[in-house]
């Protein structure tokens, strides 16, 4: 049993950069390297393969850019990727993302980056009702996993799962939908980002309910939670990213300032004296 098996034994010489604050773990899961500046460092190497993440954020916090960069970087490495757009038409999405240097339209033409309009998927499945039944939800999960299977998708984004969940009438059904989707995609080795639109980030006061998700049920089921938000620094909004939870890896839980540059997302630890200004 050696390093090539993805397993390290205690007492073996450690490679450079393998140490964490808590020491080197005995077993290290294979990672899906996001390629987003700073994010893989925060996650100590990347997202554990096959994880399903909730990427929750307020409007304008950079969720779509981050998710698009995640799939595009996978496509650049030759992986098949898919992006389900539910909040804006795919044409508009691609037009917005063309300004970033990481994006290359060739990836779309070569079939490495597959962008689907959620509305088209609904019509294709005959899901024209305002509210979905359990059968509708199952049909949707099957359609998504069929696409993942057929194309061999290893990175998937649903932007946003909030829009989709609004069609699901109760929390239990939302929970079932996300659990089934996450489980199915994990068995296919697909690392997934589910985008969630939230109005504020953090812990609610009094109610004891966390504000990482839209419906309050997503966070317990999924493997990871990443939140994006804004800090109001004397009238100026500074974007930040924080990883709240990530199963299968040690990770930083600090707030990181996020800047959208022509090269995409860039992250740096937020100044400690600047978090609560």
């Amino acid at each position: 049993m050696g390093a090539s098996d993805g397993i390290e034994l205690l007492g073996k010489p450690r490679g450079p950069g393998s140490d964490t604050m808590l020491g080197t773990p005995q077993y290290k899961r294979d990672r899906c390297v996001t390629g987003v500046h700073g994010l893989d460092e925060i996650l100590r190497g990347g997202i554990p393969y096959g994880s399903t993440l909730l990427v929750g954020g307020t409007c304008g916090s950079g969720k779509t850019t981050l998710a698009m960069e995640f799939v595009v970087n996978g496509a650049a490495m030759g992986e098949a990727t898919a992006y389900f757009a539910a909040t804006e038409p795919s044409v508009k999405l691609l037009e917005n993302v063309r300004q970033f240097s990481f994006f290359d339209m060739d990836m779309v033409d070569k079939g490495l980056l597959n962008v689907f309009d959620m509305d088209v998927t609904y019509s294709w499945l005959g899901l024209t009702k305002a509210t979905f039944t359990m059968d509708d939800v199952n049909a949707l999960v099957k359609a998504i996993t069929d696409i993942v299977n057929t194309i061999g998708v290893t990175r998937l984004v649903i932007d946003s799962v909030t829009t989709l969940c609004y069609k699901i009438p109760n929390d239990q059904l939302i929970r079932d939908f996300l659990f089934t989707l996450g489980k199915t995609l994990a068995t296919q080795g697909c690392t997934t980002m589910l985008i969630a639109e939230i109005t504020s980030v953090g812990m609610s006061h009094g109610g004891g309910r966390s504000l990482w998700s839209s419906f309050g049920v997503e966070e317990a089921i999924l493997d990871g939670i990443m939140v994006l938000g804004d800090i109001d620094r004397r009238g100026h909004l500074l974007r930040y990213l924080q990883v709240i939870k990530m199963r299968g890896t040690d990770h930083s839980r600090a707030k990181y300032a996020l800047e959208l540059t022509p090269n995409g997302v860039m992250l740096t630890p937020m100044l400690k004296w600047g978090v609560d200004v």
């Binding site: 300032a257 800047e259 004296w273 600047g274």
Partner: protein
């Protein structure tokens, strides 16, 4: 300035009256003599005014990326024809300044790069002392780790004592109005 060490951080102290002359006398040898490229963080004055003045005295600025922290506060201040200027909303967005600097450094070819911060006292107008000291600590260590020369302009009598003390501690060199007193 007769020699530079890439991973050093130089504090340049100047007076309020000779700040521009000191700036010009620093940037000119970096560009022409040492053939370096870099980033100029402009918090004292608008980048457009700075470029025009430097060009007037014969200092070429094409290979310098300017991060303008001032002009966004002025109506029409961000209308510029120079492609090497990028604007930051406010000098209070210290992390944005750092990330923009890193972005520009990534776009500059070669290994010989500098960052000029103009100036600590200008940032002190907008930022609380502890946060500014933390920012300078981060900035200096970030660029030293990347083998980038950092030059930090400062008018000492307009800089909070706590920030000044930290700056003295973090910087590897000190130039006082053009004369090296500690090396």
């Amino acid at each position: 300035m007769t020699e530079v060490t890439l991973n050093s951080s130089v504090q340049v102290r100047c007076g309020a009256s000779n700040a521009f002359l000191v700036t010009a006398s620093l940037i000119e040898p970096l560009i022409t003599e040492f053939e370096m490229q870099g980033v100029y963080i402009s918090a004292s004055r608008g980048a457009l005014e700075l470029i025009n003045t430097l060009n007037e005295i014969g200092v070429a600025t094409e290979n310098v990326r300017f991060i303008d922290c001032v002009s966004s506060a002025l109506l029409g201040g961000t209308e510029s024809t120079f492609p090497n200027i990028s604007f930051i909303d406010s000098p209070i967005m210290l992390e944005s300044i750092l990330l923009r600097t890193l972005y520009h450094l990534n776009t500059i070819p070669g290994d010989s790069k500098f960052v000029i911060l103009d100036s600590v006292n200008a940032l002190a107008i907008y930022n609380e002392d502890r946060m500014l000291a933390e920012y300078l600590h981060t900035l200096i260590n970030t660029f030293r780790a990347r083998d980038v020369l950092s030059v930090i302009m400062n008018v000492p009598d307009q800089t909070p004592p706590g920030v000044l003390a930290n700056l003295d501690l973090y910087c590897t060199d000190l130039i006082d109005r053009g004369q090296v007193v500690i090396s």
